[in-house]
């Protein structure tokens, strides 16, 4: 198993949440102090560098118009990391390509990072969370159709080496596509795609990309991984190796369970601070009609209750948090591993909110020294 250190680069120094109605989309950026922001950026880059030093891989994502994640361009920070790291794989998970106006630009940026890093990029494509729709003014209907057209255009741009090709699709038009540079890796960087539903998992499975689940817990993750595997079997394709399956959880390892739990409670800032009004959580067309109807009736699936009033016990019970002493963390990860039929990539959200630099480093060190060697043997 490979483990990835992932930090959302939050700007956590906010006023009392009673003073604003949304941490996303409309929180005024007067609350953001660029001098503090600069210190935070450098601190987070230091932590990614430390991850490499500890033998962990590096993961970056992007969000827009939110204090929960001040990385509106994953390509920018990964460009910097591509220069200053030497050996870690560099995962962007990911590029919200249904929301980007120019897929060719994404193909160029990703090729650049791949060349900078001499072929260490792992390129993720994501649909993006619902709050991204207003932030980017992107129409939330028919998103997956737009997503796959963008994907097809990007892959073709990466793999065409004989001069311009033409693209006049439903969503994107580009008559002279001929990117410089081309990717370092052949035929292109490995592709990762996040999936929350069986239908999207089937699409990813058919293509054999790495599928990633974020905080989907035991049952949600199993459903996605099973759908991926079933689709490949239906198509007569070879079974995918474990490294095609990724799971993201909040992870904090301490000397003791008490220390691990204390760190995990600070990581819960991700869930606790996510104050967002209904118009941004359910843009029309984002969720399937049947789910919207259930939500209108007030039915909330069990796992989503976790997000409304998170408790550490509940999150651990559902497999959203792995925390405690090294043996505990190992056992919890293996419980998920066994439940979902194995996975080869552990995406660790291991920095958040008020977890300071020393605490973050402690959790990373404990994990990489005491837990990771046992997980690596799973390969």
């Amino acid at each position: 198993m490979r483990a990835w250190f992932f930090s959302e680069n939050a700007y956590h120094l906010l006023p009392d949440a009673r003073e604003y109605d949304s941490i996303r989309v409309k929180l005024p950026n007067r609350y953001y102090d660029p001098k503090i922001g600069a210190d935070l950026y450098h601190r987070f880059i230091d932590e990614w560098l430390l991850a490499e030093e500890l033998g962990l891989e590096i993961m970056v994502n992007e969000h827009h118009q939110t204090a929960t994640n001040v990385n509106p361009s994953a390509a920018v920070v990964m460009g910097a990391l591509g220069r200053v790291t030497r050996s870690a794989r560099l995962l962007i998970l990911g590029n919200p390509i249904a929301n980007r106006r120019e897929p060719v630009r994404v193909a160029e940026e990703m090729a650049m990072v791949d060349v900078y890093s001499r072929g260490r990029l792992e390129c993720g494509f994501v649909r993006g969370v619902p709050y991204e729709m207003s932030a980017g003014n992107h129409r939330p209907t028919h998103m997956m159709e737009r997503f796959w057209e963008a994907h097809d255009l990007i892959v073709k741009a990466w793999t065409s080496h004989d001069g311009p090709f033409n693209w006049e699709g439903k969503y994107f038009h580009h008559r002279q596509v001929n990117i410089w540079p081309r990717p370092y890796q052949e035929p292109h960087p490995p592709i990762w795609i996040t999936a929350l539903s069986p239908s999207s998992a089937r699409e990813v499975g058919a293509r054999g990309y790495t599928v990633a689940c974020f905080l989907t817990g035991f049952e949600g993750t199993k459903t996605v991984f099973d759908s991926y595997r079933e689709r490949r079997a239906e198509l007569g394709l070879p079974a995918a190796p474990r490294e095609r399956f990724a799971y993201a959880a909040l992870v904090y390892t301490g000397d003791t369970d008490a220390e691990g739990y204390a760190g995990a409670r600070k990581l819960m800032w991700y869930l606790e601070s996510n104050k967002v009004p209904p118009q941004f959580t359910s843009p029309p067309g984002y969720h399937p009609i049947a789910s919207t109807v259930n939500a209108m009736k007030g039915a909330t699936p069990g796992i989503y209750k976790m997000f409304q009033n998170p408790t550490l016990e509940g999150l651990m019970e559902h497999g959203l948090v792995f925390a405690g002493n090294p043996d505990s963390v190992y056992r919890q990860i293996m419980r998920m591993y066994e439940h979902v039929g194995g996975f080869g990539q552990l995406l660790m959200m291991s920095q958040a909110g008020f977890l300071d630099h020393e605490e973050t480093v402690k959790g990373m060190q404990m994990f990489s020294r005491e837990v990771y060697p046992r997980l690596k043997e799973l390969r």
């Binding site: 939330p140 029309p284 009736k297």
Partner: protein, 257 residues
């Protein structure tokens, strides 16, 4: 009674009532309520056709249709299919935008045009949002802006059938399909409204806080040669829901007398 129509391979759920002069009712983003009293009142004066636009109500989405421009051509085709000669076309809000887009293309089969608080034009400058962003406002605030009596407009979702909830969700999704960007307007429509040469009446709820008669309504009226603008007391953005009798009477007096 309601049934189905097929226009150029596009399937439309459609309320069809009454006899005589064709009356085409184009619903807005609120969707079509088959039981709405205004429909019967209009059907007393002619042959009412009230389709649900593709994606709204129970009408399936259509692969060929994802913009108001497409809807305008679809309903011009419907008038031709009906061989309408002197149709009265009525549209409310999003439906008013569709009706205006039809009329700038062709009024050959249209005798009277009635636009009820139509959307579709850009009035202010680029930093002035003419139409409040319903996708970024709390649902309660949207009700406050759109209704004379918001408390009566609020729905208790727990009391509604799955079918009704499905229609509400589909209506909202279809609204996003047609009106997300540019937001509820066609940047070129205002300069084309001069092409409308049939008698046109703009009707506006006096308490419409969503788009006001004084600003948005006046801009629409000024762009259509000879158009009149009347307000209806006790109504917000959807006067056919809050004052169906008064609305139907204005329509009758202007177009069906």
């Amino acid at each position: 009674m309601s049934g189905w129509l097929t226009v150029q391979d596009v399937q439309l759920e459609c309320v069809e009532r009454g006899h005589g002069r064709p009356i085409l009712w184009l619903h807005g983003e609120e969707g079509l309520d088959h039981e709405a009293p205004v429909l019967d009142r209009l059907a007393a004066h002619g042959h009412l056709l009230a389709p649900s636009h593709p994606g709204f109500g129970h009408s399936p989405e259509a692969a060929s249709i994802d913009a108001v421009d497409d809807l305008a051509y679809l309903y011009l085709d419907l008038l031709a299919q009906q061989d309408a000669r002197d149709a009265v076309v009525i549209g409310c809000s999003l439906g008013g935008w569709i009706a205006a887009e039809m009329a700038v293309k062709c009024t050959e089969r249209v005798a009277r045009l009635i636009l009820i608080a139509p959307l579709g034009i850009k009035v202010g400058d680029r930093e002035t949002r003419d139409i409040p962003d319903i996708f970024a406002l709390h649902p309660d605030e949207v009700l406050r802006l759109q209704y004379h009596d918001p408390a009566r407009a609020r729905l208790d979702h727990a009391a509604l059938s799955d079918d009704r909830l499905t229609v509400i969700a589909r209506n909202r999704e279809a609204t996003a399909l047609y009106a997300w960007e540019p937001y509820f307007h066609d940047p070129k429509l205002r300069r084309r409204l001069h092409r409308i040469t049939v008698p046109t009446l703009l009707l506006w709820g006096a308490d419409d806080r969503f788009v006001t008669a004084d600003c948005y309504g006046a801009a629409y009226r000024d762009a259509i040669p000879g158009a009149g603008l009347e307000t209806i007391p006790g109504a917000g953005h959807f006067p056919h829901l809050e004052q169906p009798e008064a609305l139907a009477e204005r329509v009758r007096a202007f177009a069906l007398a």
